[in-house]
Symmetry: C5
Subunit: 312 residues, 5 copies
């Protein structure tokens, strides 16, 4: 049921069935306050729901559990990752979720409810909350995969192209920043889910704990993948820097070979370009061809030397 009128949800509070209220958009402060009042939420909770720079955490208030998560959705068309804060309040017979913006990320959960799929209709509010958290965590993998693909494409470029573009540097740096940011947002989730699971709260049933353990494994996997990404990006930056150095080395060698071969030769040519009256060599018949021979053999010798030094 989609409603614009928040009071419509209130009768469900005291029904034995599980009610899920999903609020899109945190700008509707009055609605959130009404809900807070009706469902008897602590003022700190309402404050936290509205403050979108919250660190992921979970808190147990006897009658309900309050959980904040960061949701990442990757938008393929605009090639950007959106971040959104999701707050979930788990009561004994209700779940209230607060999304920053309107979105269809919870559609799979809705479908499962509508079409009566899986366990979701048979179980309690804790399983519904698990489904929501699971959906959020599943979206991490999509973002991770996207980053993984970008890392791979940069790595490909680095391994094929001995003279990488300066843009590659920006891409690596950008990816690193993204990984750091994701890690910072996902890291506290470990604790969040652990707390939910270890919780002696009567709101989390034993059957759901197994599923939460599964989400926990996924979060750990996400963090470990991010750590591996970070190390790979550091290693790629080193690779980039080494490639640049390698390339500069090559450039320097070319310069040095050219300079070392031609500067002395130019000097010799300069000598016999001088206008002294008394330069006996100038009037010898074979001076010119002999000089050519000397020059050619000198440069051949140079090339042999560079060959030996493996500069060529």
């Amino acid at each position: 049921m989609v409603t614009k009128n928040v009071e419509d949800c209130f009768p469900f509070k005291d029904q034995p069935s599980v009610t899920w209220i999903n609020i899109d958009g945190l700008h509707k402060v009055d609605i959130i306050e009404k809900i807070g009042e009706h469902f008897d939420l602590h003022p700190l909770v309402l404050e936290d729901i509205l403050n979108i720079s919250q660190r992921p955490k979970t808190e147990d208030f006897e009658n309900y559990i309050y959980t904040v998560l960061k949701m990442f959705t990757y938008n393929k068309q605009e090639n950007e990752t959106n971040i959104e804060q999701v707050s979930i309040v788990i009561g004994s017979n209700f779940v209230i979720s607060f999304q920053e913006k309107e979105g269809d990320i919870f559609d799979p959960v809705r479908d499962r409810i509508r079409f009566n799929k899986g366990h979701i209709r048979k179980m309690k509010s804790d399983y519904l909350a698990y489904s929501l958290i699971d959906t959020v965590v599943d979206n991490y993998f999509i973002v991770l995969e996207e980053i993984g693909e970008q890392i791979e494409s940069v790595e490909d470029e680095l391994s094929k192209n001995p003279d990488p573009e300066p843009e590659t540097l920006q891409t690596i740096h950008g990816l690193k920043r993204d990984v750091l940011f994701l890690r910072k947002s996902i890291w506290p989730l470990r604790e969040v889910i652990n707390t939910l699971n270890r919780n002696e709260s009567r709101l989390i049933y034993k059957t759901t704990q197994l599923f939460l353990k599964d989400v926990y494994d996924h979060v750990i996997q996400t963090i470990e993948t991010l750590d591996t990404y970070r190390e790979m990006l550091t290693s790629m930056l080193d690779l980039y820097l080494s490639s640049i150095n390698n390339r500069m080395n090559e450039v320097m060698k070319v310069l040095t070979i050219i300079a070392t071969v031609f500067i002395p030769l130019t000097f010799i040519a300069g000598i016999y370009g001088m206008n002294f009256e008394y330069m006996p060599e100038l009037y010898w018949k074979w001076s010119y061809p002999i000089l050519w021979m000397i020059m050619v053999s000198a440069s051949l010798f140079m090339f042999a030397y560079f060959k030996k030094k493996k500069w060529l």
Copy 2:
């Protein structure tokens, strides 16, 4: 009530209501000693209050709890961060706070007391102490935000400008030093608040613990943000260094191309500038145009070679 006469505060000690005494300036040693005597503070506590290079900590002395914090205030006008030590003594019906310098940072707390806002007048000394600590921690975010903005502006410059200024290096280094310093000052706060919260002291009530948990979350968030900043700054330093290397590579390529094209040509010109009597080429009619053709084609060949090597 603002008073210059410290004895004025003493009658409040035995009143049932909560009294807040705020001392501005640690140079008033005699006042601090009088208070210490009257409120029966341990000599070590008085020593710690006066020693402004104290590490943040909290200690439980049966009748009162002593807590030291570092306060950071960002002064927009002079673009500098001020650091100050704040000591808080929490008794059963009094809170004494010691600031290094006079300041208006606690004004929001004063306002809440005056205008009877929030819980603050209904609750005990522990809630007042929480309000003070919370105000200090809230100020961390302002400083953090300032640093974050500076990091972003440096990052912007680095990503737009392929040849960054040497001053950028100094800015990055300065920011890194600030982050290290902040981290060192804030890191022990985790323990401080944890100790307060875990404390079995009869001075911290259960209702306040929830609020302290909130402050704890903020401190953790601060530290994690600082850690992310640190990693970003390290990554930016790498980016800077790579940019410089990139740029040097570019410069070297230009030098090498110029030298490789013109040094051999200059040599050839030098050859025919020699004054030997017997140089047959000098007297041929087409020598000069042919030489030009050779030179032009040689340089075209060179450019093609550099093009192929992607130096151009």
Copy 3:
């Protein structure tokens, strides 16, 4: 017994002897589902068996224990490491193992069963499971050894060749990526085996725990070796980078020596190549030999200077 018909295995479920069912290939979804149904496996387990990007873990479901591992096999002929996910379900009188692809890695275990070697026929399902895990872990050492040999050969090249090939850089980077990947896959195994061993499950007998402790030691040794490899590779990258820098330094010295010796000499030659009418030196008898003497002594002086500065 090799069978294509999965129902053939079902009668063994209720026999007192230990039955080992090995499934090659996860594409046979229907078979896996039939087994899941017959052996009463949790839906999450079946899902995990089929999802090949699972993180290694172990879970205790009263009647059976479910364990996922990553198996690495090194293919000498194609010089590549294959990764495969192995799931093991340990029941009281059966062990079901699921391999991604058909393979002969468990042949040693099969041989030991067939030829009645070792303890394997006398013991329970937990010992069989241990044998399978042990075989997987033993294969890690083969992969490690291969990487170790490659690291050594790169190190040899780096220490012998002062001017390492750019390919070496790619090799180091590739090895580092492999080590990171292996580490990420093996790291959770510590927990897996620890959980199995610490487990109060009635499925793991005390006699087997000693053997599992041995596997645990091997896993720790693997991880520590990988950590050492990682540090060695980082150190080798530094060595590579330093070698490149060293080499560039050498190249620069050669260039500088040549340029410093010949550029001034060429200038002097240029001076006396000028066509001014009034240049007294041009008409002196000894100008030319004296100039030669000056040039030779100047360059000798230069060489002495470079010698002193240890550039030669």
Copy 4:
């Protein structure tokens, strides 16, 4: 009382008052052995007292506690840090301290005893031991301050001077080595004081534990400051390296500009220095001024190009 005769101290062993025996110099092996015998010290303790490369530690032997520390004293005149091992044996009514060399570091403690200042005469042997440890730890701050000043002066030089001296590199490296060494020596102290404090030994009274907690805070502060120093020195090394690279970039730009402007011009001059008989340009009237115009405009164009590329 200063005595050369170690037996003079023995009668004090059985007196109810607290006796402090301070041994200067570990070469007096016989004295140390006599004391060891009289005060019934374990052979391992005597061995540890004499072995000056001991790691800081504390051990509880029912009747006495044995503690080893490293003492650092900064000698301003010779600008060097001296390290010394201090062993302290705490008995129920005696404290024996062993210093490596004669020194006056414990003078403040002596003064407090003589002039009956502070708590020291009213309290037990554990408080005296605390006073000695506190004096040692206080000296760490003097050494830290010295290092801090040196770090600041190097930082100042780095930020002012864009072309730092090679000696700066040596200074940074030397400071880093000192910091590493100090950290290694002070790190175990955490454990030492923690052990003393957590100790259920009847020798440490509750009143002293508060003071030991204070020393513990100081040790933690020392270690954290050293860690910050270490990170700052690493950051400074990066800054130094970047400055050198920056500077080299500048140098390269100058070289490239000069070479790029003059090498082509020199080539052109070389062309018309050739002695071909048939070079029509040589006999045109305006060749020379036109050539000058071409050259000037070419170099102006070059400069504009470099300006655009921000090389100037």
Copy 5:
């Protein structure tokens, strides 16, 4: 007693005195198997004794404790470190030690037994085992000292020689590899000795635990020293790299100065070397000396400029 016949040792098994059996050489598989049979060792233990790539560990088998260590001996004459695996089996009245090769490292223990020195004859098998472990750990310090001396000599060279040899790089890398390898081998010993000490086994008596605590301290000290060495080597590599960069900077400056001074002058000389018929300057009387004056003043100006830029 030295014997070639292993059965000679067997009668000692049931004697009340402590028997020490030392096996040199693991190739004598049959002897080891006989001993294993006679002393009732677990097959896994025998396997571990023979597998020389074992990770240090200790295991408690009710009747005996099995411990593996790595022994390092520094051979001064051949300047190399030998690694050897030592297995120790501690029974109630026997100790069996297995060395890889014949060696005299346990001679001090033998001497103490023979000459009845120290506690060794009065105590149980656990003290003998401690003596063996202690001897192994003491040898670590000799190897550490050797590495320390090499580090110091490299550091000396780096600080004296501004242009370090490329071999220095290899030495630093080699030392780093050695330190990594030692650390990997010694690190698990912490756990080994801790396990022995924490052990509730009836085989380790309380009197020996104090001695084992001493060995534990030595192991920790070894690891911390290795960590410090590692950091110092990393810092030295940075120092080396910075020195190379510094040196290259110097070289570049020389090149740039020479090129910047002489290339423009050579251009001017080239100008007046042109053979145009109409070049008025060529026929002026003072052209030549004026040109010289211009050249000299230009180069003086250049030098002043470089001086100002601190390139000289």
